[in-house]
């Protein structure tokens, strides 16, 4: 287990002495901090890896920070990053990723629902040549109707729309090669879409089954209300991915239905006057003009979009992100479940 895949290359930003960084965002998880650290330590001690644990306190209002801050003195593997206020899980993860020094980064939830004992299996899978390994909570211990069913629908939809068929996008337990994840822009609530965003870079993606425990302490911080937001985020991600593969074409694609409606309306209006000899209908012709204008508008927006895309400040970064893996001759593989048989559950 000591020869974790190395991430050579300019973008890694890793220090030589840390092989693995475990990143845990914490928000009001006072009671979970210590058990979590114990669990991670127990899980990683047998591997003999040089690891660090990054606890990111996402502006907790309880004693989470005090609990976490007490750890580094006795356990130098622990580093605590405190955010100034509560920014949400994605931002907390991004902060952890930014401060991580390892070559492989593992993210997980701070509520003990993920099991650190799974981490060695993630590393083993990465050794097989994958860049991103995502967990699949195939036996979820959550409420059926408010958590599991919406999540299943969302995952099917995300897989369909983004073309990255991951069964469980919501699972926080994921492992990344540092050089890959550090190039993926993380903002808003994008953590759910990391595999999809990463697919832009064409890394090899694998999915493995992980254990999932019921919550021991504290309360769940999610609800049904996110459905609408996830849908909008999905649309945004789709646009971004669509843009990367064929700029401007994406908006033109949106313009197509409008153009069709426009053509149909104008056609019907002409047909009425010329063939049926009925009076000219302003509403029907008007609809044609409206949708025609919409199509034009969308195409124009697409052009502006291309302008934005080509002049973005981080353009070089993105270009390297898009090309790094492809020039290496790697083929974009669909995600697959690697160790269905290897599960020691």
């Amino acid at each position: 287990m000591s020869d974790v895949p190395r991430c050579d290359g300019p973008g890694g930003g890793a220090r030589d002495d840390v092989e693995l960084s475990v990143i845990v965002p914490l928000y009001n998880e006072e009671a979970n901090v210590r058990p979590l650290w114990e669990a991670i330590r127990t899980a990683l001690a047998p591997t003999g890896l040089a690891y660090e644990v990054l606890l990111v306190d996402d502006g907790s209002s309880d004693g989470t920070f005090a609990e976490a801050a007490a750890l580094p003195a006795a356990h130098p593997e622990v580093r605590v990053v405190k955010l100034r206020r509560n920014y949400g899980q994605t931002a907390a993860m991004a902060a952890g990723i930014e401060h991580a020094r390892g070559r492989v980064l593992v993210t997980m939830d701070g509520d003990l629902q993920n099991d650190p004992l799974d981490i060695p299996r993630f590393l083993a899978t990465m050794e097989e040549g994958y860049d991103i390994v995502v967990g699949w909570r195939h036996d979820r211990k959550d409420k059926l109707w408010t958590r599991k069913v919406p999540s299943r629908i969302a995952n099917a939809l995300i897989g369909k729309v983004t073309g990255v068929p991951i069964r469980d996008n919501g699972c926080s337990l994921k492992a990344y090669r540092a050089e890959v994840i550090k190039k993926i822009p993380l903002y808003s609530e994008m953590h759910r879409f990391i595999p999809a965003m990463a697919s832009l870079a064409g890394p090899r993606l694998a999915e493995i089954k992980v254990r999932h425990h019921a919550r021991r302490y504290g309360a769940s911080k999610y609800g049904l209300s996110r459905v609408y937001r996830v849908l909008l985020d999905l649309l945004a991600v789709k646009t971004i991915i669509g843009f990367a593969s064929r700029p401007a074409g994406w908006f033109a694609l949106l313009a197509l239905p409008a153009l069709l409606i426009s053509a149909a309306s104008v056609g019907a209006s002409l047909y009425r006057v010329l063939a049926l000899d009925q009076p000219f209908s302003t509403p029907i012709a008007g609809v044609g003009v409206l949708f025609g204008a919409l199509a034009l508008f969308l195409i124009m927006i697409g052009m502006i979009g291309e302008l934005v895309y080509k002049t973005g400040d981080s353009r070089e970064d993105r270009m390297s992100m898009l090309t790094a893996e492809r020039t290496a001759g790697a083929v974009r593989m669909p995600a697959r479940v690697v160790d269905e048989t290897r599960d020691a559950l």
Partner: protein, 344 residues
């Protein structure tokens, strides 16, 4: 390089009371605080108070005068004042009587454990209409930002250097300073202080003022809630319009199918199509916004790190290090945009 403990910045703009009386009143209050301080008057354009201040300065009053080339608004004047200030903490005071200067020590004490302290004039005089307008503004602000401030019109604030470095305001956004600071994760406290006996606005609020305040609210709405997720904002309006348009069209089609009402002579068809088209346009604009965010995501970091704790000991992030962008990495007094022009 920090010569004083407190830098007092006084923007001198449209509304000015007798500046000499005001200066002496402020001096009395500041002397009570037991801090070393400097006073910087920022003249927002060519103002005759400049002569009075110059005379005060010639008489030995410890004050600096910074003059802007033309009127840029109170917020810009404040930023220029901050750029020229040397103090560890910054205090803003209005160029007119608002707060009883005997209360300054109370504010300074409160600033010890907060990044930004805003004074709230309480108890406060004022007619019924005045109060209604005030409460209306703050209620609207609360609804929009979910932050409850009760006297943003008060120009008396004390803040740490970090707040001034990280927040950029211009024009007349000075009222929004506490809102934006809270948004950045700074600890903002409101402290009740006695109103000055001479706090009285003799002018009249014109319609333009109301429009400006409403625009302020809209700015803050967008800045605090949707900067990183434009599609949420545009999508919210867009889906409402699309839903409405779709509903209308549905009704029209049902009427066409079941009741045989021809579509051709129904202007409602135009209305519903218009709504649909508008909704799709809004979505497209939101998507464009998302693209802008994506292409700039590396530069728009949305979180601020307060502290990193490691085995080697507590490493306090200096606040401006965490953003690592040029603006905040620059030292406190080297704002490239503002000239460091002090005139006697």
């Amino acid at each position: 390089m920090r010569r004083v403990e407190l830098s007092v910045v006084i923007p001198v703009g449209k509304r000015v009371d007798d500046i000499e009386a005001l200066h002496h009143d402020y001096r009395r209050g500041l002397d009570r605080c037991g801090l070393t301080y400097e006073m910087i008057y920022v003249l927002d354009g060519d103002r005759e108070e400049g002569r009075q201040l110059a005379r005060l300065r010639a008489d030995g009053e410890p004050l600096e005068i910074v003059k802007l080339g033309r009127s840029f608004g109170e917020a810009t004047a404040l930023m220029v004042g901050f750029a020229n200030a040397d103090g560890a903490r910054l205090m803003t005071l209005p160029a007119y009587f608002q707060v009883d200067s005997n209360e300054f020590p109370k504010l300074v004490a409160a600033a010890a454990d907060a990044d930004l302290v805003v004074a709230r004039r309480w108890p406060r005089r004022g007619g019924r209409f005045e109060r209604l307008r005030r409460d209306g503004f703050h209620a609207l602000l609360r609804a929009i930002t979910r932050q409850s401030f009760r006297d943003l019109g008060c120009g008396v604030r004390i803040m740490s250097r970090r707040v001034a470095n990280e927040i950029t305001i211009y024009g007349d956004q000075h009222r929004l300073l506490p809102v934006l600071a809270a948004q950045q994760g700074f600890a903002v406290r409101e402290v009740d202080v006695a109103q000055s006996a001479q706090d009285e606005f003799r002018g009249r609020y014109r319609l333009r003022e109301y429009v400006h305040r409403l625009l302020d609210l809209f700015t803050v709405f967008f800045l605090t809630r949707f900067t990183k997720k434009p599609l949420r904002f545009f999508g919210m309006i867009g889906s409402a319009t699309v839903a409405l348009g779709g509903l209308f069209i549905g009704i029209l089609i049902v009427q066409r199918m079941l009741f045989d009402m021809p579509l051709a002579d129904r202007p409602a068809l135009l209305l519903s199509s218009l709504l649909l088209v508008l909704g799709v346009q809004l979505f497209a604009l939101g998507l464009l916004g998302e693209l802008i965010i994506f292409t700039h995501a590396k530069d728009l970091k949305e979180y601020k790190v307060a502290d990193v704790i490691e085995a080697r000991g507590r490493r306090k992030e200096p606040g401006d290090e965490s953003t690592q962008d040029a603006a905040s990495a620059a030292g406190p007094s080297d704002y490239p945009d503002y000239p460091r022009a002090t005139s006697g």
